[in-house]
Amino acid sequence: MKVNFADGKGPGDDMVARALKTEMDRWRPGRGPDWTDLLWRASRLPPRPVVLALSSAVLVMVLLTAVVFMTTVDVGPLANNLSAPAQLGR
């Protein structure tokens, strides 16, 4: 449906802002605020410093494991590779 405005220029910023405000004033949450749920959700996760420390520890463990594994099987940039010309020279 086309809406014709009296001045022929369409709605001004004020009118759009007013319409927006009227509309947003009507929005109501179906549930909440629920303080008990908030406390429950907040207690589910450990505090942020603990999460960061645990993540760092896991990352260090993964890296160490990778280094140990790659050294054991002798692959990767730390492997004791001899280049082909060096081998030919022997």
Partner: protein
């Protein structure tokens, strides 16, 4: 009359009950889904509660809450968008018929739906929550000029959408010509 600020450390519950609906409305304006907006508004307060000791009183507490909520809503929409490209459907969001959803929406909501989430965030913060351009810039961590250009672009799109009209619109009735 401006509302007195509350201390999030000692008065968080009061703050939560006072500002929950305002935060919900901002989040709803960004995600345009009631269920998701309720979850995200609650999650915003959970994050604020967990970080309440880090709150710096240099900015109003409402701005701090809205910063958390807007960032959470925008991240949520980014994740939802990315999830569409996943080979395995990990995201199981609400599936709705877009035509049905569009019909149920008011004209203002339809106009908002034509904006990008970042434009919707700026519109909600300025035209509903009443934050200034500088406050929004500080809140979103973007230059003030970017806020101004987003506001102008959003208004242009919304004006066009509201002018073209739609079924069930009542808000612009007084401005319509009688011919």
């Amino acid at each position: 009359m401006p509302r007195p600020d509350l201390d999030p450390v000692t008065q968080f519950r009061e703050l939560y009950e006072r500002d929950y609906v305002a935060v919900f409305r901002t989040v709803y304006a960004i995600v345009l889904d009631r269920g998701e907006a309720e979850d995200l508004a609650q999650e915003s307060f959970v994050r604020a509660y967990r970080a309440r000791h880090t709150y710096q009183p240099s900015a109003p507490v409402g701005a701090w809450l809205h910063r958390i909520a807007v960032n959470l809503a925008l991240s949520h929409l980014r994740r939802r968008k990315l999830s569409r490209f996943l080979p395995v459907r990990l995201y199981t969001g609400p599936e709705r018929d877009p035509h049905e959803q569009s019909d149920a929406r008011s004209l203002v909501e339809q106009a908002l739906a034509e904006l990008t989430p970042k434009l919707r965030a700026v519109v909600a913060l300025h035209y509903y929550q009443g934050y200034t351009r500088e406050e929004i810039a500080s809140l979103l961590g973007i230059p003030s000029g970017t806020v101004a250009s987003r506001m102008a672009k959003a208004m242009l799109i919304m004006r066009r959408r509201l002018e073209s009209g739609g079924p069930g619109d009542q808000l612009l009735e007084p401005a319509r010509s009688r011919s």
